[in-house]
């Protein structure tokens, strides 16, 4: 970690990789240290069902954060498209809890349940039926195409995502 901090090349490398400016990296690093308690990695993340790392180092941290960078005005169409794709992929993986490349109904239900968990009066059943309805809707849009279904939908919505609330992030 000290290395990441001191070696400016490393910072530059990270810059190139994640697109953050060195200031931002600096700031994020400070935050990272704060979160990790001055360890090189953050541990004790809640362990996911599968395929989830139980610790991340600073680079991982930065990579994750870089998904939340706003779109640069200087980027050309292709890059914008690319970064959109990246963001969507990231989102997709948030839904896709077993990371098998598709969002199953079960996974979607879980997401919806969690979304609704704030309200104790809504039963699981309704959450399920909502997820079901959403899935059906998705299916009718995507004609049974499921692997990329989530992505497809988000591509559709994503203009609004990116326009309205594109990832606010630190500077």
């Amino acid at each position: 970690m000290g290395a990441a901090h001191s070696a400016s090349e490393e910072v530059r490398e990270l810059e190139g990789k994640t697109g953050f400016s060195s200031d931002q990296i600096e700031q994020l690093h400070r935050r990272f240290k704060q979160l990790s308690g001055d360890q090189p990695t953050i541990r004790n993340l809640r362990k996911g069902p599968s395929g989830l790392a139980d610790e991340i180092n600073f680079e991982d941290f930065l990579t994750i954060m870089s998904y939340f960078r706003p779109i640069d005005t200087t980027m050309d169409e292709e890059q914008v498209e690319l970064s959109r794709k990246e963001k969507l992929r990231f989102l997709f993986h948030m839904y896709d809890s077993d990371s098998d490349g598709r969002i199953t109904l079960e996974e979607y239900r879980n997401v919806v349940e969690e979304l609704l968990s704030g309200n104790p009066h809504i039963e699981k059943e309704s959450a399920r039926s909502i997820a079901d309805g959403a899935m059906m809707e998705a299916a009718s849009v995507c004609m049974g195409q499921m692997i990329w279904q989530g992505i497809d939908i988000e591509t559709k919505m994503h203009v609004r995502f990116l326009n309205m609330e594109t990832m606010a992030l630190c500077h």
Binding site: L35, L115, S126, A139, V141, M143, G144, T155, M164, E165
Partner: protein, 895 residues
């Protein structure tokens, strides 16, 4: 011509208005005893005139909209102003004096509040708060900038001698004028922008600005006015400070008043359970009270009403009944549109009165140029600053539209009329200038903004219905963003939003919402519920035709559509069972009727429950008690789940039949195999009993449809069609065989019933708690390139030789056929297929019934299965597919 008609229409009115005003003047003679007929115009004059004006305005609106062409080119506000000019001219000519003008008092107390309330109440609050920073900047800084620069520039113009010396005005007068002319007008903006449909961010920024700048305008106007009245010599430094302070007092005070009333309103509606009928009234009363209170305290009334509408909506909507909600919505819209119409018309009429204004070309031209120039400059400068902070910067085109969309309107006019001529000697000139500016912005800019938007290719707002997924994703997004902000340790907008929502959920909602409403209060749930209700309503409205759209619009039988549609319920009653239908079928083997009956069967299957439902709904809408109503809602809701499934299914079916169902913006990625298999499936059905003409037809439609898709898709689809064509003879034979073999007649209907088969089908594989059949649906899902897997599965099927599930295999076999794989087996299966399919209707009906009996999740699960099925099947490798099938078949056979 249009205008001539209008003026004709207006003539008698003007005459009527004019005559009576003179009548009461001459009641010279003594009253001649008892009057048989008394003309009491005088007593009803005022309200009568108001009603007449509104009537004229509404009629004008109707006339304008008779011609689509005119309204698509010219904004309504322009037409109304022009109409006002004409009417004003007539009134002036007839009465010899200007009447019926836009009185500031009327305008501020009666005409403006409905418009503002409407816009505040229906403001997309999320969007508004997301862009609050930009809106506030433009509203406050922008308005100040406009006012001061315009005023100062005009003063400079006067100093330079370009304004005639008879315009007696000092710097303060010009600043006063600048302050009233600089504010973008909500009424004008709304009128023009609603027709332009620019993207929502742009709209909310311009419109939000026009609403919020009211506070600034009011303050500036009042401060300048009092400075002018005091005389510039007497103004002290503290007065300037007070002026600045009053900006905060007026704006924050106005907002506070609005919020207080919003709170009261929400709280009141919480307790209206037994007096539902006054709910809408409460909304209007309290909002109006907010307006008047703010006006009374000389705070910003517009801001107050806006905040009231914005603040109360969430809670009020949750509290009041569904009907009240509709009432509120329509009344508000009606009032607002009425007020708007009258405002523009009166504006036109007022402009005719030449006694009020005095012309000075230098001033008028100067003002026009300055407001345009400074508006543009201000927008560019502010946007530059804002873009440093905005994550999604506003680009140049947005800026052009924003500066060009700075319309001035009736507020400016009313304010300038309010000026005191003794204190502001140049009032007449200001009035003339304001009129010109308002007319110029509303007419010229209003006319050109649409072409401009088109020409600049400004992002338009797409109209689409809210979808569940959208809502879900947006929520997930909010959570993710809040979490990320938290991780990063940067407490930004999303963090605070999240906090606010927590707070709202914990305290506010609990306090302001009915307990019953609060319990189920959740946005996602709301959207879900609304969507379902909408679907259910449209379903009921169509008398169950949603499903029929699949079958009834088959290209080959257009003439019979109506018959089939209307007679569904009758048939249901008459025949009572499928048997009758089947007899007919047997009579007319392989005729068009087969198909029709099949279609009918579809309809019945899908709609068995519907006739009853519909009847009940229409009958009970008004008389049913609240409880029953709720139960009914629930029923609709559940029923709807089923319907959704069906419409989802029928969408798929439609691929090959009609274009009537919107094939939702497909991304070209759709697996062609699905459509393909479906096409074959559908065609198989059609071909089996029909002449080849139908095939051609369908092929065409298919192609048309596919045009929008990628060429790849097209090709593959074509291929699919070819399959079918070749398979025809076999299918036909099948038909014959089965037809002759039939003992139990009903099966005949089934072949066409993938819909019903689909319903139950194999998706069960996961849960297995419901009947498992192998349906044509399954086959559809398997893409063409997986045909091998198919064949394998089919052969495994054969080895199993489980009778009940044979039908599906047959259907599924068809696609592979042309490739010469499995021809011989087909006929073998036929006899058995009836049975499997025969089972559907009862089970379906059962499902429907059980659904109605509040076992909600059973149907839901059922419906769900298809999705899972899809997913699985689509992506199964051939090998797995085979095993999968086996399992399903086993299940099926067990059943």
């Amino acid at each position: 011509m249009l205008r001539a008609a209008l003026s004709l229409l207006a003539l008698p009115l003007a005459g009527a208005a004019e005559e009576p005003t003179q009548k009461p003047e001459s009641p010279g003679e003594p009253p001649p005893g008892l009057e048989l007929f008394r003309w009491q115009w005088h007593e009803v004059e005022a309200p009568y005139l108001v009603a007449l004006w509104i009537l004229v305005a509404s009629l004008a609106k109707i006339v304008f909209h008779l011609s689509r062409k005119v309204t698509s080119l010219v904004p309504e506000s322009c037409l109304l102003i022009l109409l006002g000019l004409v009417l004003g001219g007539i009134v002036l000519a007839v009465a010899k004096k200007a009447e019926y003008q836009l009185e500031p008092g009327t305008f501020f107390l009666f005409l403006l509040p409905p418009i503002v309330l409407d816009s505040g109440y229906f403001m997309p609050s999320r969007l508004f708060f997301d862009n609050l920073g930009a809106i506030l900047t433009y509203a406050v800084v922008g308005t100040l900038w406009n006012a001061f620069t315009t005023g100062a520039a005009l003063w400079g113009l006067q100093q330079a001698g370009l304004v005639a010396p008879r315009v007696q005005a000092g710097l303060l007068d010009f600043l006063l004028f600048g302050s009233l002319i600089s504010a973008v007008d909500p009424v004008a903006v709304l009128a023009v922008f609603e027709e332009v449909h620019v993207n929502e961010t742009l709209f909310i920024i311009v419109f939000g600005e026009s609403l919020l700048n009211d506070a600034v305008t009011v303050v500036l106007y009042k401060v300048c006015n009092s400075f002018v009245e005091m005389g510039s010599a007497n103004v002290q430094a503290t007065d300037y400070l007070k002026g600045v302070a009053s900006l905060f007092v007026v704006s924050l005070g106005g907002a506070a008043v609005g919020l207080v009333f919003a709170f009261l309103l929400a709280l009141t509606t919480r307790f209206t359970k037994r007096v539902r009928i006054i709910e809408p009234l409460l909304v209007f009363l309290l909002a109006y009270a907010a307006y008047l209170t703010a006006e009374m305290a000389s705070l910003s009334a517009i801001l107050a009403v806006t905040m009231c509408g914005l603040g109360c909506k969430k809670y009020v909507e949750a509290n009041i009944s569904h009907k009240s909600r509709t009432t509120v919505k329509y009344t508000m819209k009606t009032l607002a549109s009425c007020a708007e119409t009258v405002i523009f018309m009166l504006l036109g009429i007022s402009a005719v009165d030449s006694s009020k204004w005095a012309w000075d070309s230098g001033l008028v031209l100067g003002t026009l140029i300055f407001i345009l120039f400074f508006r543009a400059l201000g927008v560019v400068l502010q946007t530059w600053v804002l873009n440093q902070f905005r994550l999604v910067p506003l680009d140049k085109i947005d800026q052009v539209v924003m500066s060009y969309g700075g319309l001035r309107g009736a507020v400016a006019f009313a304010l300038v009329i309010l000026l005191d001529r003794t204190k502001v000697p140049a009032k007449d000139y200001f009035v003339a200038t304001t009129i010109v500016v308002v007319f110029f912005t509303v007419i010229v800019q209003g006319l050109t903004i649409k072409p401009l938007v088109k020409w600049l290719k400004v992002k338009r707002s797409e109209h689409h219905k809210p979808t569940l997924n959208q809502e879900l994703h947006e929520h997930t997004f909010d959570h993710i963003l809040a979490a990320v902000e938290d991780v990063v340790g940067h407490h930004g907008y999303h963090y605070w939003r999240d906090r606010w929502e927590q707070f709202d959920k914990k305290y506010l909602s609990q306090l302001l919402m009915r307990r019953s409403a609060y319990r189920i209060r959740d946005q996602i749930w709301d959207v879900y519920y609304r969507l379902n209700i909408r679907d259910a309503i449209s379903f009921v409205d169509q008398g169950g035709h949603v499903l029929s759209s699949t079958g009834l619009t088959l290209p080959s039988m257009p003439s019979r559509n109506s018959v089939a549609e209307t007679s569904v319920t009758n048939l249901l009653r008459e025949s009572g069972s499928g048997a009758c239908l089947d007899l007919q079928v047997i009579d007319t083997v392989r005729s068009g009727r087969d198909r029709e009956d099949a279609v009918m069967h579809h309809l019945l299957c899908g709609g068995l429950y519907k006739p009853r439902r519909r009847y009940k709904a229409s009958c009970s809408r008004h008389f049913i008690s609240e409880d029953a109503q709720e139960r009914q809602d629930k029923e609709v809701f559940q029923q709807n789940m089923k319907r959704r499934l069906e419409s989802f299914k029928s969408t798929k079916h439609n691929i090959c039949f009609t274009k009537s169902k919107p094939r939702p913006r497909k991304t070209g990625r759709r697996k062609d195999g699905v459509a393909n298999a479906e096409a074959t499936n559908g065609k198989h059905r059609g071909l089996g009993f029909q002449d080849t003409a139908a095939v051609i037809l369908t092929v065409e439609s298919e192609e048309e449809e596919e045009e929008s898709d990628s060429s790849e898709t097209e090709k593959e689809d074509d291929e699919g069609i070819i399959f079918v064509a070749r398979a025809t003879s076999e299918v036909l034979q099948e038909g014959k065989v089965s037809g002759s073999l039939e003992v139990c007649p009903s099966p005949r209907i089934i072949p066409p019933s993938p819909t019903c088969a689909e319903k139950e089908l194999p998706w069960k594989s996961g849960q297995g708690d419901l009947a498992v059949y192998v349906s044509s649906e399954t086959t559809k899902i398997v893409p063409v390139d997986m045909q091998t897997g198919w064949n394998q599965s089919i052969s495994s099927l054969e080895s199993l030789a489980s009778p009940p599930c044979n039908q599906a295999p047959i259907l599924t076999c068809l696609p592979p056929h042309p490739r010469g794989t499995e021809e011989p087996q087909v006929p073998l299966h036929l006899p058995s297929d009836p049975r499997s399919s025969f089972a559907f209707p009862p089970s379906l009906a059962k499902a429907g019934r059980s659904r109605s009996e509040s076992s909600a999740d059973l149907p839901q699960q059922q419906e769900l299965q298809p999705l899972m099925g899809h997913k699985d099947h689509t992506h199964l490798s051939p090998g797995t597919a085979t095993s999968h099938w086996c399992i399903q078949f086993n299940r099926g056979s067990r059943l």
